[in-house]
Assembly symmetry: none
Homo-oligomer: 235 residues x 2
């Protein structure tokens, strides 16, 4: 259970998106190889073993569909998810005929993608290691699935956004959660207004967490936020 990592092949030519996705998937404990075109992707696929492919449709050198059909020759079972721009209905449909298991249209949120990945792995492999969805935060306990923050007697129902943000903070407990990363993960678009919106949510979370002075959301100027919990001296 400890480190049965699934391996993902990610083919995406956009450098920003690619590295972001890789980082995110790594953080989620998927061993992810990222390549920037279909040509390289195929060479990787021949050489290494993967449990799932994430292919951008529009790529230089070799597009995602062509790549998929070649991959299918080598392996008719491996799950394939296409990343595609909106408004390409027909193309997407073409993709299905090549045996894609799913597709997701840009822009998408990280969480969305993760969900699709997990759903597919659940179908093809067994259940996955066990997505974590409850945390202890000082004297609170947070249930992301139920969107519930309990502790100090009261039980606080969280809204979806509050819950998603807190979940990200928990995933990066004691580390810096980068603003941009959180924005892309939750709001998809990291524009000015969404950034301000996120600030508002940070304030809200701080208010909820106030009852325990050992729990803090610390701002790291220009970088992001860090959820820190000072351990109670064992009495």
């Amino acid at each position: 259970m400890a480190d049965l990592k699934y391996r993902i092949l990610l083919a995406e030519d956009d450098e920003n998106l690619g590295s972001l996705l890789q980082e995110y998937l790594q953080a989620k404990n998927y061993d992810t190889d990222w390549v920037v075109n279909g040509e390289k992707a195929f060479r990787y696929f021949e050489q290494f073993h993967y449990d799932l492919c994430l292919l951008d449709v529009m790529m230089p050198v070799k597009d995602g569909f062509t790549l998929a059909s070649e991959i299918r020759i080598l392996n008719s079972d491996i799950p394939i998810i296409f990343l595609t721009a909106k408004s390409m209905k027909e193309d997407v449909l073409e993709g299905f005929s090549l045996g894609a298991d799913d597709y997701i249209t840009k822009p998408f949120s990280m969480e969305e993608l993760l969900f699709r990945i997990e759903a597919i792995l659940r179908r093809t492999k067994g259940i996955r290691g066990g997505e974590k969805n409850t945390w202890k935060i000082g004297r609170f306990s947070f249930d992301a699935k139920r969107q519930l923050l309990t502790g100090t007697g009261v039980e606080q129902k969280l809204t979806t956004k509050e819950s998603e943000l807190l979940r990200l903070l928990c995933n990066n407990m004691n580390q810096v959660l980068e603003r941009n990363f959180a924005l892309k993960a939750i709001w998809i678009d990291d524009n000015y207004f969404n950034a301000r919106s996120m600030d508002v949510y940070i304030t809200k979370l701080r208010k909820y967490l106030k009852p325990d002075p050992n729990v803090q959301i610390i701002n790291v100027h220009g970088k992001g936020y860090k959820l820190v919990v000072d351990e109670e001296p064992a009495d």
Copy 2:
């Protein structure tokens, strides 16, 4: 149970869409014949046996409506689904008067179409091969076929709409069921009023499910709903 395949007649002049649909339906275990105009479609219909017709409205040689009325002369029972471009309200209505069972506006997703097909076959024939139609929801058990929600002593009969909505929620247990998808799947049209109607049904379902506090229909603002069940710790 193994290979009782339903047979579908698909009449669609767009080559891309046609072949794609055929492939998809084949993959979903429907034995599908695809023809590119109404003329041919009729000849096929005379000659072979089908369980369902999927007719494009706009076709050369013979349009879908004309075709449908001719098919109705030969067989007054067979389910017919029209594929139609958006913005043809009146035409669609005309179609219904010819005894169409349903219609779906382009562009549509494969999933949407599949759901409609299954819904209709569910109504007309019995249940389809591998389709799930009973679920455990916390301490309830839901039988979609008989539209019955049992648990906590009482036995609640559900109306058709209640049952279809709950079925969709169950199919996406613990995931977000998108508002739009549900609307298109159940109400066909995703306009404002139907959306409000759906809200009313969510309230009704919540009321039925209230007796078990571990079962919740959580709203995801702007996205949809998710049915979450907290697993009882096995005591």
